[in-house]
Symmetry: C2
Subunit: 338 residues, 2 copies
């Protein structure tokens, strides 16, 4: 395995100087067309590979944006990652995605490595825990960074935060269930104490308090299997509950399967609303009502805020909340449509 050829090898083969080769690389109009052709032929001949690291050594800006995601297996996050990436690549920026898998150590390591590689900016959906180990280096290095969807670092002036208006989402869902005549509405899913759980629950709690109803909360992992188990729990231990707002769609879909297994009819016997409105909501039967967070639009908004920051030095607002919308489908309609 011999060493990679450099610009000098190309220059030697083409019988020109390294400067000329460099100019050809930048397709400068300074070089004569035929010289450029010779140089390109020489590149092909020696198997030249451009070394971007060396080039960036002079002007430390790489046009590379790092995206650190806490859970790559969650469709919500991959949808976000995909839309950010599309928006950035349209503007000529490359995106690298890394998955912290909810591990603060790994997250700190990934962020450190991206900073060292000289990314121009970072977009982070952070894991919980040890914010300082991840965010300290970012602030010290002065790399523009945004935290999205979850807030773990207080210094919003340095690291602005953007997310959805979850509180309003919880309100919309709860009011809708009340309108459907639900008597006992539960909130299901979400790990206790987490900021996002509290936000999604706050709207629910607010409406329950307004109407003087007793809140019923079942915390747990935000997974299908927890939802599935919750369906059993509610059916067996809390038969009075006739509706639920779920922490997210995965929990709601789990409950939906659980109720199907138990033979309970959604709509008639139980009204269910999810949160996120992932694609699957419209594909399952009965179709799942959900608080829609337009994650693709959110990704685009995030990307363009970051680009304005980078290119026009326009610092984003310290907190941004994207709007949400309740999508009503049959899982929450007392009298099924049609």
């Amino acid at each position: 395995m011999t060493k990679r050829p450099t610009i000098l090898d190309v220059a030697r083969t083409a019988r020109v100087s390294k400067s000329t080769v460099s100019l050809v690389l930048q397709s400068s109009s300074l070089v004569k067309a035929e010289t450029a052709e010779t140089v390109r032929a020489a590149m092909a001949e020696v198997g030249y590979v451009y070394n971007r690291a060396a080039a960036n050594l002079r002007s430390t800006s790489v046009g590379l944006i790092g995206l650190v995601i806490n859970d790559l297996r969650n469709p919500f996050f991959t949808e976000f990652a995909t839309s950010v990436q599309m928006a950035l690549s349209a503007k000529g920026y490359a995106t690298v995605v890394a998955n912290s898998d909810e591990d603060p150590d790994l997250q700190a390591q990934l962020i450190g490595s991206m900073i060292e590689h000289g990314v121009s900016a970072l977009i982070i959906s952070p894991a919980y825990g040890e914010p300082e180990r991840s965010f300290g280096p970012i602030i010290r290095a002065g790399v523009p960074a945004m935290q999205v969807l979850r807030q773990v670092e207080a210094r919003r002036d340095h690291i602005p935060f953007s997310s959805f208006d979850y509180i309003r989402g919880g309100e919309l869902a709860t009011r809708h269930l009340l309108e459907q005549g639900a008597k006992n509405i539960a909130f299901v899913g979400g790990l206790e104490g987490r900021a996002i759980t509290n936000e999604r629950m706050a709207g629910y709690l607010k409406v329950m308090a307004e109407t003087g109803s007793e809140p019923l909360v079942f915390h747990g992992r935000s997974s299908r299997s927890f939802g599935n188990a919750a369906a059993d729990l509610i059916t067996n231990k809390h038969p009075e509950i006739d509706a639920a707002v779920c922490f997210n769609d995965l929990v709601a879909l789990g409950m939906l399967s659980g109720f199907a297994r138990l033979g309970r009819k959604l709509g008639k016997e139980f009204c269910l609303v999810g949160f996120d409105d992932i694609e699957e909501c419209a594909q399952v039967w009965p179709q799942l009502s959900s608080v829609s967070c337009d994650i693709a639009a959110f990704g685009q908004h995030t990307a363009s805020a970051m680009l304005e920051w980078l290119e026009k030095d326009k610092h984003p607002e310290t907190e941004y909340r994207a709007g949400v919308e309740l999508i009503v489908r049959s899982s929450s309609l007392r009298v099924p449509a049609r």
Copy 2:
């Protein structure tokens, strides 16, 4: 926005030479403990950020592995990406993930950019089309690369291929449905002409031919919505069909929702087998039988094959097929369990 401090600024502040600072960075035992302490203090003071690009300029190996995935929204691929990443990070390699979103142009661009950034290796689940534009540069640059899950580049001696034994999977599923007494088995989903469709279908066709049955194939996108529509199509136009092997779980899950909507009972009236065995199969109701491709194990195998290639120069076999297994659940059992 002032220039980033370098090793020289640190040296000046700590009143030592740049070489000493460099040694401290590598936590060499050559420097006296107290000197090292002074240097570290100086680093903190000036806000030093290590510049890995500059360091890599000398020894062109970065310990960075690129993972290019064709569809980041598909759980099957994200599961794969996650497990590769975990296995690599355990061995001290960082992984960057990029999503080509089935776009050969974008894929070529991403691969080019990763090569230029000097990744040590590439693992690619390729998009279909224009293999030369993506794989040519890889071969020219001499970067170790593997194509996984899909084969689009013929030169396997350069770019080894690994995937699952899909043919056997199709066989297992079809035989199982026959044992359940199915009379007319269809194959549903998968875009026509694609290598992976043909492989997954080959086992089905083989068993059908052996038993002299007429194959019935419904090609289409590998999505829930296609499965959902296929349930209608089969129920209305082909009522004689009483079982199906699906191209993947998404199609099967779409059919499952469709049948629920149409009120057809899986197991009794129709037997269904999916492909991939994603987590959701065990969460839906009725639970979905599926050909299990242990994607996490596959990811680990891929990662370690790549590491052996990099570290021990042991070239992987040109083609590797991981085993598959049929997981029988209630969606395909004529007489439901218990």
